[in-house]
Symmetry: C2
């Protein structure tokens, strides 16, 4: 009998812009579990799943399968999967690696839809293991069983005490279920995240470890979890993946569901892509694609586990904001300074308070209290059991200039009264409150728990407050934009087909052809004329403004300048002929095999140099890049990225994101530049790469000259590589 396969998309769906979400209900809420290879020793790996489920009270049926025993840990043991009394939801597999493929086939025949393979010794161990993993993959596709692992720590659902998993951290009694789901590509890191969350008082019902991902991967897990009503937040540990489109689709769904995915991505310093020719390509290291996907979707990227725990605590409790304007309330000048500084460093603003707020606070504080922002009422200001302190908190929350309030906690014996009143004030207010926790680590833990149960998160360190507030602000803004429809990707109405784009076979396109593509997409290019070598003598440049550039035109020379193929600032027609001969001689000497199409004569453009580029990534899709001048992008790596296509406002944000972007406003006595025209050019390139993602691999305009406001832009050089980039 073939297994009643779960409604699925085939694994061919990997790479589709939208992956259809799987229904993993029976994996996460099993009624009956087979434990294939379960050990009689509850301490060892293969004995742990059964031990944990017995010890912590799994409510369903458990069937050990072990031909050498009649009883395992007090339960009747079955000889074979085929002899089980009912078709289980899951088989937890701990047999030796070589036996696993056969067991998967037996599961398929017995109608078991899911297998969780804890056994290690596959691809992670080298060549022999890789052969085994290939066998396992065959067994998966032939049996129809959906498989977690191998080399997985397993699947845990604390709500129903389903421990299809191993790991010492799971032996702790009293692990608390809650709205967080932990999804991890590393078993060890996943267990630690669960453990750290629990220590921080953050309940997590689910732990899903994907192991070697022979079948199901972290995106399948997260895709299902986003649709679970008892999950508000996913904590994701990611190492590597080529499922760029799944990552992007998952991010979109998270944003739509309003459920953040707090993601820690490791393994970011891998070698940059090798094959790319243009700078755009060289700069597009994999990690940039991940980061771009994180920022586009409902992800919150964090830098370490501690930040993951802090942010998860806040967002899983529902903390959201309407904007980035923070008010800080403190009784200590020193802390006020540090809170303000770190909040501002993370992109929050500390606006002046509304006059009515200041007027209302004034009678509550000593005359020398500071009523700026931070509000510092000094240690003299809370002698009334923090009654006026709490009243000030209320006033700050009511201030129309304020989106969130950071308040330093009370200390000492008044702390309970302070907290109870604070909870009343915050309840139903809708604005976020973060508490800068003052007592030492071991005191008043009950008060802290009371506050955090009400969504008022408490942190002792200033950088935690700032990091969490910034993450919440950022996610909330993206979520609101999504809900308002403001992040809808533009419809892919393909622009008029530029005649030359598809003319070339895979490879480089000459500059003249590339310029024609730009023109087709409305990008102004420097006036130019392609002259065949034999036409040089008769060349008429009466309609050109001198000086001009003289460039070799060839499909074989991506870096013309380095090949000696460019002469700039040529003053007249006679000099053009001379320059053309010089250029030709140099190129023939340096690149004797290059096919020469002719000489490109081009008016010298002026303005501020920027780079606009684009790449069609085989895993993530089309992506557009912006950077200032040559050296900014090349030496400083000061560039911004977005998935294409984008609209004008997103293009303007890309420009603002690079550090050198301030140059466009007119530094050093230079005029302000035509930002609108620049944004249009970026949008146009994003459309061009999106429309021709399957046939154009890379585009780079370098430089694009940006003129003064109103005077537009002018592309002075352009490189287009056709043919899809190999994965």
């Amino acid at each position: 009998m073939k297994a009643p396969v779960v409604p699925v998309t085939s694994s061919a769906s990997i790479g589709d812009p939208e992956f259809a979400p799987l229904d993993l209900t029976r994996l996460l809420e099993p009624a009956a579990i087979a434990l294939v290879g379960a050990s009689t020793n509850p301490q060892v790996t293969s004995g742990q799943p059964l031990r944990y489920m017995k010890e912590f009270g799994f409510g369903g049926r458990l069937y050990p399968v072990n031909p050498r025993r009649s009883e395992v840990q007090g339960l009747r043991s079955y000889e074979r999967i085929a002899s089980l009394p009912e078709p289980c939801d899951i088989a937890v597999i701990t047999v030796a690696a070589p036996q696993v493929p056969a067991i998967i086939r037996e599961c398929g025949e017995a109608g078991i839809p899911f297998a969780v393979v804890l056994t290690a010794g596959f691809e992670e161990t080298g060549a022999t293991g890789a052969v085994l993993q290939k066998e396992l993959r065959d067994a998966v596709s032939e049996s129809g069983v959906r498989v977690v692992g191998p080399n997985s720590t397993g699947i845990v659902n604390l709500r129903c005490r389903s421990y299809c998993a191993q790991g010492g951290a799971l032996s702790e009694a009293g692990l608390q279920p809650g709205p967080v789901a932990v999804v991890s590509q590393s078993g060890g890191v996943g267990l630690s995240i669960l453990s750290f969350l629990q220590s921080a008082g953050v309940g997590a019902s689910y732990l899903l470890s994907s192991g070697n991902e022979v079948d199901l991967d972290v995106f399948d897990f997260a895709g299902h979890l986003l649709r679970c009503p008892d999950v508000s937040t996913i904590a994701l540990y990611l190492e590597s993946s080529i499922s760029g489109r799944k990552l992007r689709a998952l991010g979109r769904r998270a944003l739509e569901a309003g459920k953040p995915i707090v993601v820690l991505k490791a393994g970011n310093t891998g070698a940059a892509r090798a094959a790319a020719t243009s700078h755009t390509g060289r700069l597009t290291a994999d990690y940039q694609l991940f980061r771009t996907a994180f920022r586009e979707g409902g992800y919150i990227e964090v830098g370490d586990i501690d930040e993951l725990v802090d942010v998860t605590k806040a967002v899983s409790g529902g903390m959201r904001t309407k904007g980035a304007r923070a008010a800080v309330l403190t009784t200590s000048g020193g802390w006020g300074v540090m809170l303000a500084e770190q909040c501002e460093a993370r992109g929050l603003t500390l606006p002046p308070l509304a006059p009515e707020t200041i007027a209302a606070i004034k009678p509550l504080v000593p005359s020398y209290a500071s009523l700026g922002n931070p509000v510092d009422i000094t240690p003299q200001g809370y002698k009334d059991q923090y009654a006026s302190y709490n009243e000030i908190t209320r006033l700050l929350l009511a201030d129309p200039n304020v989106d969130l309030v950071v308040v330093r906690s009370a200390t000492g014996s008044d702390i309970g009264a302070w907290a109870d009143r604070l909870i009343q004030i915050v309840e139903g207010n809708g604005k976020a409150v973060l508490v800068h926790w003052a007592p030492s680590a071991r005191r008043f833990l009950d008060v802290k728990e009371r506050l955090e149960r009400c969504g008022i998160v408490c942190f002792p360190y200033v950088n935690q407050i700032a990091a969490v507030a910034a993450a919440v602000v950022d996610f909330s803004a993206r979520r609101d934009a999504c809900a308002a429809g403001a992040v809808t990707i533009m419809p892919a109405e393909k622009a008029a087909v530029p005649p030359l784009v598809l003319r070339n076979s895979p490879g480089l396109m000459g500059e003249a052809g590339a310029m024609e593509c730009l023109r087709a997409y409305g990008i102004a290019v420097a006036k130019s004329r392609l002259v065949p070598m034999e036409g040089l003598e008769a060349l008429d440049l009466a309609d050109f403004a001198f000086p001009v550039a003289v460039k070799i035109e060839s499909d074989d020379l991506p870096h013309k300048t380095e090949a000696g193929g460019v002469v700039l600032n040529v003053a007249g027609a006679a000099q053009v002929r001379e320059a053309a001969r010089r250029v030709l001689d140099r190129v023939r000497a340096k690149a004797p095999t290059a096919v020469i199409n002719g000489i490109l004569v081009q008016e010298m453009a002026t303005g501020l140099e920027v780079i606009v580029g684009a790449v069609s990534d085989p895993h993530f899709g089309p992506i557009v890049m912006f950077g200032m001048g040559g050296v900014f992008a090349e030496v400083m790596n000061d560039v911004s990225y977005r998935f294409a296509p984008i609209d004008r406002s997103e293009a303007l944000r890309m420009v603002r994101e690079v550090k050198g972007g301030g140059l466009l406003d007119g530094a050093r006595g230079q005029p302000p530049r035509d930002l609108e025209a620049l944004a249009q050019a970026i949008v146009a390139i994003s459309r061009l790469i999106a429309d021709y993602r399957d046939t154009i691999a890379e585009i780079e305009i370098n430089p694009l000259f940006v003129r003064a406001v109103g005077a537009g832009v002018s592309a002075a050089d352009c490189l287009i590589r056709t043919g899809s980039r190999s994965p």
Copy 2:
């Protein structure tokens, strides 16, 4: 009777390059304490010092002074200071603010050398308080009493239970003395640091809060503490100070003593200096001066209290390294990736292991273990109670390529055996070991304490490991360089006096004069000639290479280009005359009052543009700046700083520190540049500003052109402002 004043330098020493350290022994180890204004209520501020000392067992004599009581908290109370039975070491003062100056005078008459003023209500509260503080200052200088505060949290020495201090955090019993001293400009932050250190198991004997610093400041405190044999480390919270020279001198002493000062500096985003004309001046915000001082001396700068606690824990336990080469040992691939990544991001390297190390490890691990760096022995690798795991740790410590080892801890019941063996291995080894602590927050705390008592610090988060390791490596390198005499500041042999430097009255110096100064210090300048207006017609430029620049020469125009005073690329002598007239017309229109010295004709230099600048700061002394091109420094703020003078190797480090510095190696088909000549120029400017620190306020060469290797540099413009910069 005048107080027997402690051997002191007067407060006039502030600003001296070397401040003579005070002897604060009687302040920190008092035998007799007067408590002036002590309250009978042990809960309130004025009752707390007496309460804490009685409760925790201060061994010396305590004398409450309170004219309205005959007894205070069980001790006989004295009516006046004059009636005390012995001259106390300290008077702790908690009387109302207006009475404090008179009390200080009484202390002086009674021969009490130190007063700790806990009373608030002085300068921090506004104008009235400032008047009081002025009165207090007068009382200090007239009485000779050395005063802590006012508005201080006080002075605590836990070793002798001397609590001349207030604060709820001090009420905790069992605070542990230890090798750390906490010094803080904020009372609240200081108490929190003590509290956080204690929670982290780091003993700290001293807490010194400087309050409003009417007399003694944090540098006086730290200067004394560096000489205390029971202090290994100072944790310093700093907000602001104009004692730049004290900060630098303290840093030098810390380095010489080998005792790190872990410093958290807040208040860094204050407005940049206003009066400066050149970009150098504008970019030299105060914080840069502090950072430069931190890096020069024995400071370790941290970003928040948590990092301060982590780093202090490691360095106070004596952790040091001989280099930055780390080996990572783990049982989990995921953690290995994260540890490696964050260590590298902080400047550590993970070199390949020595072949003999790999050969020795191989028999101890499964065939599929990874013997790169990180070493990942997989979860299968520690089945022998971590015996082979510990043996691998030993081998890594013995590897000649390795300076420190990061090892993930055991988990579960084997952890005790693992830790005991690890302690044996590390003992006497001399290399640093950091443990990446795996168990959840509440487990095996005894094992962790055992390890940390032996200097093996344990952290659960990867960023903690990386931050601490980087701080230790950095401090150790500076300390070793200091011990080897490699950081001796060069002797200030004044270079040949340039004739023009001191000619001008305070103000700007014309470019011709500035160029002469550069020449006097050996910096090549673009060939130029100053021509008076009336000499234009007879101008002979036969010895000039065209094109040239034509510039207005005036002491009144720091920004010649913006005033229309520059024409570049002038092709011949006739055009020079024409350009000179154009320049003159434009400047006369824009700046009619500017005095014109003539016209400067200058050969156009070529090369890569850099900026070299210098400022003589009234508080910190002379400082030199380097940045790439105009926009790099101006728009990106991508510049580096050192206190002047510096030597060649330090100049090369400055060049390497800026992000755009890679351009000098020859990007984009450009030749590698003459780094040696550039370094010489930076050294020369650092000497020029150091030699004339009292008469030159600012220097800026902008641009300095750096030519290809061997071809030197050429200064194309230079601005010098004479006269000292006002504080």
